[in-house]
C-alpha cells in the first residue's frame, strides 16, 4: 500500500465512531439503519462516516440486496495494522534487547574490576 493510501486509511481510522463502526462490522454485515442505532447518530450522520470508510477502502456497500448491507474489507485494515503495529513491536523488543546488552556490559565491568582488584592484591 502506498503512503498516500495509508494516509487516507489512517485518517478514516482516526475517528472513534468510525472505529466502532468497523468493530461492529467485524461481527457481520449490517445496514445503515442498524449501524446508526448504537451510535445515536442520524442517518445522514452515519452515512457521512460510511462514505469516509468506503473511500478508504475499509468497507464496501452491497448494491444487490435491497437493504444494501455494509461489509468490512479486511485486506486494507490488515495492511494498515501490520504497518502500525511495527512501531510498538519495534521498541518493546528493542528495549528488551538493550536491557540484556546493558546487563552484559555491567557483568563485564564487574569482572574487570575484580581482575584489577585481584592483580593489585597480588602486587
Amino acid at each position: 500500500m502506498s503512503s498516500d493510501q495509508l494516509s487516507v486509511t489512517f485518517a478514516a481510522l482516526a475517528d472513534p465512531t468510525r472505529r466502532a463502526i468497523l468493530a461492529r462490522l467485524a461481527q457481520g454485515e449490517a445496514s445503515v439503519t442498524e449501524l446508526a442505532k448504537p451510535f445515536d447518530l442520524s442517518l445522514p450522520g452515519v452515512s457521512k462516516h460510511l462514505k469516509v470508510l468506503q473511500r478508504a477502502g475499509l468497507i464496501t456497500q452491497s448494491r444487490n440486496a435491497q437493504w444494501r448491507p455494509c461489509r468490512l474489507e479486511g485486506s486494507r485494515l490488515k495492511e494498515a495494522s501490520e504497518w502500525v503495529g511495527e512501531y510498538r513491536r519495534f521498541w518493546d523488543e528493542s528495549f528488551e534487547r538493550l536491557d540484556a546488552v546493558l546487563q552484559e556490559m555491567i557483568k563485564e565491568q564487574k569482572e574487570k574490576e575484580n581482575v584489577d582488584k585481584g592483580s593489585k592484591h597480588d602486587a
Partner: protein
C-alpha cells in the same frame, strides 16, 4: 510470561495524544546512564539491540558525532531489507541524542527523535520522543491499541477478520 532470576522485562510506556504529531516512549532500565549512552552510540553495541530480533542489523554508516550520518538496514531471514537513516544533530554524553529519522520504505517522511537519559540512582529512565512532520505521519506509525479511546486494536480486529475469512 516467565522471568529469570531477579530480572524482569522492561515495560515501555507510550504516550500518544490525539491531534499531536509526537510519540513519547518511556522505559526504566537497570543500568547507569553512561552505559545506556554507550549502547546507543557504539555501533557494535547498537547492532545488538536496535529493532526486532527477527532482523539482522547491518550498519552502513554510524557516526555518533553532531552532524554525523547514520544508515542502518534491517535484514530479514527472507532477505527483505528495511533501511533507516538520519543525521545526528546533538550528541551530549551521557544525557541526550537528538537526530533525524527516516524510514526508507516511506522516503520523505522525516521525523526528529530525541532520546534523553535521566539518572535514577543506578538505573536510567530513557525518554524517547519522536516528532513527525504531520499528525498523519505519526498515526501511520501508531497502532490504535496504543492510543486512547481505541478499546479494540486494529490488530485484533484484523486477526478476527482472518478467522472470519477462514470460517472459524
Amino acid at each position: 510470561m516467565s522471568t529469570k532470576g531477579a530480572s524482569t522485562m522492561p515495560k515501555t510506556e507510550y504516550t500518544i495524544e490525539p491531534g499531536k504529531q509526537e510519540i513519547v516512549s518511556t522505559v526504566v532500565l537497570d543500568a547507569p546512564r553512561e552505559l545506556v549512552f554507550k549502547a546507543y552510540t557504539d555501533p557494535t553495541l547498537f547492532a545488538q539491540w536496535w529493532g526486532p530480533r527477527r532482523y539482522k542489523v547491518n550498519i552502513q554508516k554510524f557516526d555518533s558525532k553532531p552532524g554525523g550520518e547514520w544508515l542502518v538496514d534491517h535484514v530479514g531471514d527472507d532477505g527483505s531489507r528495511h533501511g533507516f537513516r538520519g543525521v545526528n544533530h546533538d550528541v551530549v554524553a551521557p544525557e541526550r541524542i537528538c537526530q533525524t529519522f527516516e524510514y526508507l520504505g516511506v522516503p520523505g517522511h522525516v521525523a526528529l527523535q530525541t532520546a534523553t537519559f535521566e539518572p535514577l540512582g543506578n538505573k536510567t529512565r530513557i525518554v524517547a520522543q519522536i516528532v513527525f512532520q504531520s499528525v498523519m505521519d505519526r498515526d501511520g506509525m501508531v497502532a490504535s491499541g496504543m492510543s486512547e479511546g481505541a478499546d479494540e486494536s486494529m490488530e485484533r480486529l484484523a486477526e478476527l477478520l482472518e478467522r472470519m475469512k477462514a470460517g472459524k
